[in-house]
Symmetry: C2
Subunit: 346 residues, 2 copies
DNA sequence: TTGAAAGCGCTACCAC
DNA sequence: GTGGTAGCGCTTTCAA
């Protein structure tokens, strides 16, 4: 069913039908009703391609999802972000275009979005320190919003971010309050902006209590299970092992837990683990493990906010261009002590 | 840069330039070279919208990602599947359109894809028992491939699936080999087809050893951490507790682990856990926990295969319409005994 | 081997 | 308030 066919059925011109359907004011109420009814009856919906060719707007937004070229891993938070953004898009009539590319070849994806002209805007994921894509997009002149921030960039840009620094600062403080002094940090790769901020929060909390961050307790790497496992075994086998571990990713945390298990240690008794994800919904059961954060829901919320911001930008609506979300922190109580561990405890 | 502008620069007609760029045979080699060079130089790429309006092909494929209306959770495997599919799409010039919808309102997404005519094909995710979307899509006449299968459906359809039954059968056999007799199953919701097949595998393995599946040890629910945690506590507090737990999801397994920790039990000593995900990469370290599967990579592979199959269908190419992938099983060895647990062990 | 022109389905300008 | 019509940028006959 095309606009022309529909207008023939109605005995109206395509012009009028189009106007009626698109809410133009100069159409009589009676006609509008009649047109709407006929459209519904015949299951008419405008052809997106034709419309966007005529209007010049693609009514679509592009997401470039980088995957680690090495591990072929997709960061699970993207799913949450995408879900939040998708909600807002569909409410506003936008389509979501996804482009999954190895993280060593992202530029081409952006350029292709632009030259093929099939999106009106872009969400930029996983920004790094001084991210080169920001000046690239600025020069290309395509509206965009960054999911995260990029430290050390001169360029200005619109962004939505979770307060990673504050979240990690609070988590660290929590462990300090429990008496822990040797707290390890298992972080993401530190060219990623979020990882830099998380470390900053961790260090700030330690420093505020007069503890000098110990390089031997800080790790940055790909957020895989294996990484978490291997690091944990190494860490806990040290003569001066940490009593608590702060982990930057749910996936890595699985490996960390396994490492702890393998060492024959018990969570909450021998070692405390805080993971940066919402493992908290069942905390009510009186677990003796400190539990922290809710990034999954924060990330979904960030998706909603970023999508709305981008739409506002594209439609020249005035609204904030920088949004910092708190990670909806919830901390549990631990009954576990903070005694040092020794090699070979197992 | 439009085709017309480019043709003006070259002193050729748009027709010729179009033909040269699209590999039509009647263009002279010299012209083709000249055109290609100019296109590259001026960064010309055809406007997707215009092209697809002219050809009638959208050059895009739609994915409808259902999210649990209750939990707002996105199944992490979608990320892996999408990544695999995206790879194939971009190699073949297709865009990927994502539509994230609550699982109680999926029909509208399919219909909208079709009426708006912005995709040439669809990948159907998360099929249920006798999934109504299959006849719907058959009647709509849009090419599609199912990621998974739908038991009890008369209709025929193209699909790519992982061998869930065999994977769970093997995992169960592995636990049986270790001496376990009371093995719990923490499964996904059993209107989902994959969950039905997993249970079938579990039951088949038990039955083959003369063990009658015990309804008190089988659970089906949303695959959340909380679910895994609560179930595990309940399970292990029973007088006749299981000695091993087979878990259907990486996320749920996190909760199960926590439940085990909270009960004061030790993995591999008091209880064995097998999770359906690739926790195996670091098994070489001599963990004493049985470890199983590699769905993440299988799922990515399924994404690739499904995308290719859909493209083949759309381009009327002959190829298999049903692909069953093995889950790339790797089983570790457990040193854990299979002794019964008692309430209050903690 | 190349080009002119129609048309994909829609919007938007200009008349009435 | 309604309708005619010229494009949007491309592909695809048909003619040369």
């Amino acid at each position: 069913m095309t606009l022309k066919e529909l207008s023939n059925i109605l005995g109206l011109s395509p012009t009028t039908v189009s106007r009626a359907l698109n809410g133009y004011p100069e159409v009589s109420e009676a006609t509008r009703k009649r047109v709407a009814a006929a459209a519904r009856e015949h299951g008419y919906a405008p052809n997106t391609r034709a419309r966007s060719l005529a209007t010049g707007r693609a009514m679509a937004i592009g997401h470039v999802i980088p995957i680690s070229a090495k591990h072929e891993m997709v960061n699970p938070v993207f799913g949450d972000f995408i879900a939040g953004a998708g909600e807002v898009y569909s409410r506003n009539g936008y389509d979501m275009l996804l482009s999954v590319v190895p993280d060593d070849d992202e530029d081409s994806a952006y350029r292709s979005f632009i030259t093929k002209r099939n999106v009106d805007g872009i969400i930029l994921h996983a920004p790094t320190l001084n991210d080169p894509r920001i000046p690239l997009l600025n020069s290309l002149g395509l509206p965009y919003v960054v999911h995260g921030r990029s430290s050390d960039t001169d360029a200005s840009y619109a962004w939505v971010d979770v307060n990673n620094k504050r979240a990690f600062q609070r988590a660290t403080e929590f462990l300090l309050d429990l008496g822990h002094r040797r707290i390890a940090l298992v972080n993401g790769l530190e060219h990623m902006d979020f990882a830099i901020r998380r470390r900053a929060g961790y260090e700030a909390a330690l420093t505020a209590r007069g503890i000098t961050p110990d390089a031997a307790l800080m790790f940055a790497g790909e957020m895989t299970e294996a990484q978490g496992h291997d690091l944990t075994r190494t860490l806990l086998a040290q003569p001066n092992a940490p009593t608590a571990i702060l982990v930057s990713s749910m996936i890595t945390a699985i490996g960390v837990r396994r490492g702890i298990e393998e060492m024959g240690l018990r969570m909450g008794r021998d070692v405390s683990l805080i993971t940066h994800d919402d493992e908290l919904s069942y905390f009510r059961n009186g677990a003796d493990i400190p539990v922290y954060t809710a990034t999954r829901s924060s990330v979904r919320d960030a998706g909603r906010k970023a999508a709305q911001m981008l739409i506002d930008i594209m439609q020249h609506r005035d609204s904030p261009r920088e949004i910092l979300l708190e990670a909806d922190l919830t901390l549990g109580l631990s009954t576990g002590p903070a005694t040092p561990l020794h090699a070979g405890t197992r």
